[in-house]
Symmetry: C2
Subunit: 147 residues, 2 copies
DNA sequence: CTTTATGCAAAGCCTTTGCATATCT
DNA sequence: AGATATGCAAAGGCTTTGCATAAAG
């Protein structure tokens, strides 16, 4: 699922703003993150293609793209990560040990949300939940060390 | 549930460290947060009782209390919040509109975690999940405005 | 041609750190 | 006395902002 399939220029112009090379390059960099990219990673990728682009432009562009709902942000370990907005809400499993991340669909959590709404009258609005824990590989190592 | 019921001084000394007025005041300030307190709120409360206590001491003390598992921290909207460690893992529902927070037990989410472990081999280790959404009152307002 | 976007540099904010002093056991 | 904890001030890292210039429609 590439971001190429979306008419970003059109959606930006539809709001009365302009498409620029910088915005395109930042969008590409976010997309290259495969789901979750830090500012540093984005800046590094941007810098490869266009060393002249300023860091503050990257910040401003990401802010801008979020307002148009083309990019979404999430907090992970206190760091902000960015990714291309997808039609499907989804979540992440982040391994505390190896740092690996697994993307999961919303299905697993939907039932839980419904239950919370029913019990607390609270409408959970989560597009981008990050659950921490230990992945399969690291669990195996942990089990060895604990013995 | 007050933190008074726990022998903090004892637990601190058991690790070879010292109980000090500063640490006691910071602990009180965290406890006064009723579940989730920002650094600023903690510093404000500390300052009321003892204006001389330095901000860096508060940072160091919180770091210290976390290492002893007397205080736990979580990220909420990019801000670090602190609370007294409880025996029971629990989570928060944070309303995006009014900022209200509801504390919920782990029970609602346990089944979901089990399912994730089964399906992905990923062991979710969440002591302090924060779910964003809209509380009952704000949902009612939203419904009105949307019509 | 007008408005929006960018680059640069500087300011801001929050957090951490080094070091001398004070405090606890 | 010996070790730990604190206060102060300064440094650090990341993000935001003001302003002049450049570029898009």
């Amino acid at each position: 699922m590439s971001h190429q399939s979306i008419d970003y220029a059109g959606r930006i112009r539809a709001h009365g703003y302009r498409m620029t090379p910088q915005r395109e390059i930042v969008l590409d960099a976010v997309c290259a993150g495969e789901g979750h990219t830090t500012i540093d990673a984005i800046c590094a990728r941007v810098h490869e293609r266009a060393p002249v682009i300023n860091r503050s432009t990257v910040y401003r562009t990401l802010e801008f793209l979020q307002q148009l709902n083309l990019v979404v942000a999430a907090d992970i370990h206190g760091q902000t990560i960015y990714e291309i907005a997808q039609a499907q809400p989804h979540h992440h499993l982040a391994c505390l040990q190896c740092g690996d991340e697994i993307e999961i669909s919303n299905d697993e959590l939907e039932a839980t949300y419904a239950e919370i709404t029913e019990r607390y009258g609270f409408d959970v609005e989560v597009d981008h939940l990050v659950l921490y824990g230990f992945c399969q590989g690291c669990r195996a190592h942990k089990a060895q060390n604990d013995s």
